[in-house]
């Protein structure tokens, strides 16, 4: 086996990565504040009136974070939380999904270049259809 794809499923992947992103953001923010203003977990704990070990466990992921505790930590670090839900949007330059599952590589497949108005100056390139039979049917119709 030259390659192993670790796949836990879409739902679990989304949940795990969101939780990881929130914690990673907290860790990075505290690390930045620590370097800049010497803000330690101890100072945060004193400000919030809780034990330092609880903050440590929340940051490392060993204790659950509630929305309240997340807001409290951000407040104690003098940071603002930015939260947004949006539909996934395709962006210029991003990877394309593989259209044909049988393809062995991730190379995007293109059909032949079609010349418009019979000229050789302007060309248009189309992505190949996922199902060639459907495309053939459309063409005959």
């Amino acid at each position: 086996m030259t390659s192993y794809h670790f796949d836990i499923g879409s739902r679990a992947r989304h949940a795990g990565r969101f939780i990881g992103r929130v914690r990673g953001e907290l860790l990075r923010a505290l690390s930045q504040r620590k370097n800049a203003d010497r803000l330690s977990q101890q100072v945060l704990a004193e400000k919030l009136g809780i034990q330092r070990s609880l903050i440590n466990r929340q940051l490392t992921g060993e204790a659950n974070l509630t929305l309240r505790s997340l807001a409290d930590l951000a407040w104690a670090m003098d940071m603002e939380i930015s939260f947004e839900l949006k539909k996934p949007m395709a962006e210029a330059g991003q990877n394309q999904p593989i259209l044909n599952q049988a393809m062995a590589t991730s190379t995007v497949q293109y059909s032949q270049i079609r010349y418009i108005n019979g000229g050789g100056k302007r060309v248009s390139v189309f992505a190949a259809p996922a199902n060639p039979e459907t495309a053939q049917a459309k063409k005959s119709a």
Partner: protein, 161 residues
């Protein structure tokens, strides 16, 4: 002198990949020994006993860690990765709340996973020394101790931060 390609061809290691966001590219490389891949397969199937400290399941934690690593995002030193001992050819540990993964850096930004286990099991039985010795032995057997092993022990030696 063995190369990474030769190690892969000899089935000594396999490349590990995860589903990445369309905006992300793999900027780092991750490999695993056959034993580690088998352990990972069990973890993905969820056959490991259900016990965890944090909100995410162990499989979710590992998926997130691998994605963070592969996408080239910053990892927090000591919290998410560290060397077991500050020594030449160090053995490194990748960390999630519940899971610890041991291995070494073949090159900068290129990690090979050898052992994975529960954090509490490792702490309760003090398995750090045993894993470190086993990984050093494996590297000697593969003949990569001097050639395919990052010598430095600072975070910047092993990861582009």
């Amino acid at each position: 002198m063995a190369t990474i390609e030769e190690l892969v061809e000899a089935n000594a290691i396999s490349r590990i990949q995860v589903e990445m966001h369309p905006r992300d590219q793999a900027l780092r490389l991750l490999y695993g020994t056959p034993g580690f891949i088998a352990w990972l397969g069990e973890l993905a199937k969820g056959s490991q006993p259900e016990r965890r400290l944090g909100e995410a399941t162990p499989a979710e934690q590992v998926d997130d860690l691998f994605n963070t690593f592969l996408a080239g995002q910053p990892l927090v030193y000591m919290k998410q990765f560290r060397s077991i001992r500050a020594e030449k050819n160090a053995v490194w540990e990748l960390k999630t709340p519940d899971i610890r993964i041991f291995g070494w850096f073949l090159q900068k930004d290129c990690f090979v996973c050898v052992f994975g286990n529960w954090a509490d099991v490792i702490k309760d039985h003090d398995l750090y020394r045993g894993y470190r010795i086993a990984i050093r032995r494996l590297r000697r057997e593969l003949g990569v101790d001097e050639t395919l092993c990052v010598q430095g022990v600072t975070p910047g030696d092993v990861l582009s931060l």
